[in-house]
Symmetry: C2
Subunit: 243 residues, 2 copies
């Protein structure tokens, strides 16, 4: 039985791991979402943070699989995917998958930084002016570039899969990136996706995978909210081109 250790009130980076576990139909305990009297709550995450003693890694999400403790979201996803048939085993394809996964992570980081362009030590409200400008630049210059990259990869593969002609954890991560962007910047993202029909189809196909469809309807799927990576502040959204 896998243990996932991540903040209980938000999707965040833990959600990419949850999607792999759910798609692979693996049993897992989402530790911090258990009641506190059963070892859950934020204390369960704090007990594993760097400096707290156990230290599986610098920051959550953490995965515990027997004796093995792993951190770094893309690594945890790749590990689970390899174990459960959601990633090619051939060395070149396997590394190509991780390459694209890390590019998705770069896009996730860039989206996170929109509401915290100055410092994560400050609240959004303390850096709202900079966030408005950063997000305007992102809509005008970066959003289509990120989505267009994955569209170009799909054009090259000729399939509705980013790697190796088969479904993989990279497709799941692309789904989550697009779902998050649609939540955070609905108007700009809808406009940008008009130019990426293959990516739209891939995201729709992932949502229809039976285990994913069940998961998205379940209480296990935390709703997007303003504590996660993808935050909807209406003042940040706008047209894709306003310059």
């Amino acid at each position: 039985m896998y243990q996932l250790i991540y903040w209980p009130f938000l999707q965040g980076r833990g959600e990419f791991v949850r999607l792999v576990l759910e798609d692979a139909e693996q049993s897992y305990v989402d530790v911090a979402r258990q009641p506190e009297e059963q070892g859950g709550g934020v204390g369960a995450v704090r007990a594993h943070l760097y400096g707290a003693g156990s230290m599986p890694g610098f920051a959550p999400p953490y995965l515990i699989d027997g004796e093995l403790k792993l951190a770094q979201m893309p690594v945890v996803c790749a590990y689970l995917a390899e174990k459960h048939g959601l990633c090619a085993t051939e060395i070149g394809t396997r590394h190509r998958a991780m390459q694209l996964m890390l590019t998705i992570c770069d896009a996730v980081d860039a989206t996170h930084d929109l509401h915290h362009p100055v410092s994560t030590a400050l609240a959004y409200e303390e850096q709202k002016k900079e966030a408005l400008e950063a997000t305007r630049l992102f809509r005008n210059h970066r959003l289509s570039k990120w989505l267009g990259f994955f569209e170009a990869v799909l054009e090259e593969t000729g399939a509705l899969h980013l790697v190796g002609g088969a479904h993989s954890y990279v497709d799941l991560a692309a789904f989550q990136l697009v779902a998050g962007l649609r939540y955070a910047l609905p108007r700009a993202t809808a406009e940008a996706l008009e130019a990426t029909p293959r990516l739209q189809d891939l995201v729709a196909a992932v949502a229809e995978r039976p285990a994913i469809a069940r998961y998205l309807q379940s209480e296990r799927r935390i709703a997007f909210n303003e504590s996660g990576i993808f935050r909807h502040y209406p003042e940040l959204d706008g047209p894709l081109t306003d310059e």
Copy 2:
């Protein structure tokens, strides 16, 4: 014969790949460092950038190995390491290695952002005030935390290797991180390393590996400079604790 495609005038992220190729004693062409009439120069990099047609990935370094094109520095390093015995093959250890590699990359990114805290679209001189404050905070609060994390990992492994009780690409990357920090922030880094004797020893041991020692003395090793990730602006250095 491998082809590495990276900017020719700086170490940058390409240097982590060069260290793996050199340590593994593999023949490679550092394409952009060839004369322009032989297909080198920055044009060789530009021809592979996203949007230029060939598109192995979003950004360099790129590795070409026959039909396979890879990008994302930690992925390129891991791929070469697996092929040439610089990484364990067991699935858990292999992913633990990538976990630590990505944490090194996070530290590299954090160091890069010190001289570009506002935007990479602006020159250092245009964001010097913010860089001074960002670097002061980094020296006081982050530098020891990053180095201390790797020291704690070494304490846990009980060896002068970060993963699996054996030399790996992760040790090479740790060497490059520390070398870069020593160049960029010599005073603060020397102070911080006093608390991480194991990490100091690991870095010294890597520098003494025969192939690495030869490489560091060769013309193939580009000197650190103010175009790379690790830049020495004397005004940014200072004591580890000045608050």
